[in-house]
Amino acid sequence: MIGHRAILPLSRDPASRFLPWLIAFMVWLAGLALAGAMQIQTTSDAWVKGVAGRLTMQVVPAADESAEALEARIGRALALLRETPGVARAEAMPKEAAAALLEPWLGKSALVEELPVPRMIDVVLEDGAPMDTRALGARIAAQVPGTSLEDHGLWLANLVTLAGAIQAIAFAIVGLIALAAVATVVFATKTGLAIHHEVVELLHLIGARDGFVAREFQGHAFRLGLKGGVGGFVLVAATVAVVVYLAGRVEAGLLPPIALGLAQWAALAGLAIAVALIAMITARLTVMRALARMP
């Protein structure tokens, strides 16, 4: 590194050729896991933001109920909801909206018109208003039979748990890859020590401090790590670009929006720096341990 001219011709070792490739591959895998974890975070944030403070009331048509009777029940439920403190808005979704939701599965057919599709009421709560949704649902169901109030919190909580679990797995993958990178660098450094054993011993015998010898290896490992890290980052960037492009061609609505923000790109670039530092520190510790065994 700076102020330290290379003594050992480490760049001619076989490890110098394969290590950047291995590290690039590892950074690519870790980068994809990390990008996935970050994308899931974005999506789950969007879900939480989109449905927090919203409730949905379902009004299920009874058998042989006339359209007028159903509309009347909807009207009564709306009235009850609107006079509840803490409810900002309550709107019945038109019948077509429910049909439209089913369209991707059932197609546009008259059949949908005939189906006793439950009707939805979209309820928006006032910001920060405390609301016992279970009690509210029970109260309205008592007065307007066939209604049920759905709190998105429940399925949202499950989704958030799922997202968290997937993220935990992704981070575990990144951690395991970091361990694999450490093992690879330990192996490469030990090989280097074996190849250059005579020169290392000579340096030791003529009074080089352990840190002096370690600097040879750690500087070299840092450069190899950075090379591999940058290569891996380029692979990650290319892969993410392809995924974003393909996701953009999928019909809107089926997929949450896929994109990485600046901070997330910075985190991925940080991976390249991190792997270089990991390589450097690992090489240093490996050499220091080997030298400590010398007389």
Binding site: I206, G207, A292
Partner: protein, 234 residues
């Protein structure tokens, strides 16, 4: 001479390589500051092994080794590089770095000690001229003859003006004239205070330079064959 003037002191030192047999037995001697000794003995007697103990490539398996007043068994590990920097070694097998020029090989001890580039540029070519290698300054060891390599090795051993110089067969590969020249270089260093030990097979060399002598036979310091005087016995 007072004991604290001893550069090297061995007391009942034994040494073995790994789990092998003991190759040095009960070695006791001392080297006063500024002394010059030949280390003689038949091949396999343990000359290189004794030198290895002195330049800290090997630890004794028993006994006490003291260098510059430091008991090396109890010295802090962090203190050992400083002790090693005061010792110049000419290895029997030279141990030059093949990928570096003669200039860079000789400069190594200076760089390790943190000398400036100006010091390196001043002293290294001068010393290489002294050992007759002014034309090989930029040559790499694989292109040098055995005798030329030996001279590079000697230059590297003395460049940092060591207090103790250990030379293992330093004249084994050179002709008589260069051998004398190299011996005179070692004597110059000795005159300015360097303690010198030269391991050699060459009886003519020993006969020509009147220095004291340590004689090893089968791993033991012995009286000289023929009852010659042996100096330095503790």
């Amino acid at each position: 001479m007072a004991e604290d003037q001893d550069v090297v002191r061995f007391q009942n030192v034994g040494m073995r390589y790994g789990l092998g047999p003991e190759v040095l037995h009960d070695i006791s001697f001392r080297l006063p500051k500024g002394s010059f000794h030949f280390l003689t003995g038949p091949s396999g007697a343990g000359k290189s092994s004794l030198l290895r103990l002195m330049y800290l490539a090997q630890r004794p398996s028993r006994g006490l080794v003291t260098l510059f007043g430091n008991d090396i068994a109890t010295a802090r590990r962090g203190a050992l590089p400083d002790i090693r920097r005061r010792i110049g070694v000419v290895f029997q097998d030279f141990r030059l770095i093949d990928t570096m020029t003669a200039m860079e090989n000789v400069a190594m001890p200076l760089r390790i000690a943190g000398a400036s580039e100006a010091q390196v540029k001043e002293h290294v070519p001068e010393l290489l001229r002294w050992v007759g290698l002014e034309d090989q300054i930029d040559a790499r060891p694989p292109t040098l003859s055995g005798g030329q390599k030996q001279r590079v090795a000697i230059a590297r051993a003395v460049i940092a003006r060591p207090a103790l110089l250990l030379a293992d067969e330093p004249t084994g590969n050179v002709d008589a004239e260069i051998a004398l020249r190299l011996m005179r270089l070692l004597e110059e260093l000795n005159k300015i205070g360097t303690t010198v030990v030269v391991a050699t097979h060459s009886e003519p060399l020993v006969a020509r330079f009147k220095h004291r002598r340590l004689h090893l036979d089968a791993g033991e310091l012995t009286a000289l064959p023929g009852g010659g005087a042996q100096a330095g016995m503790a």
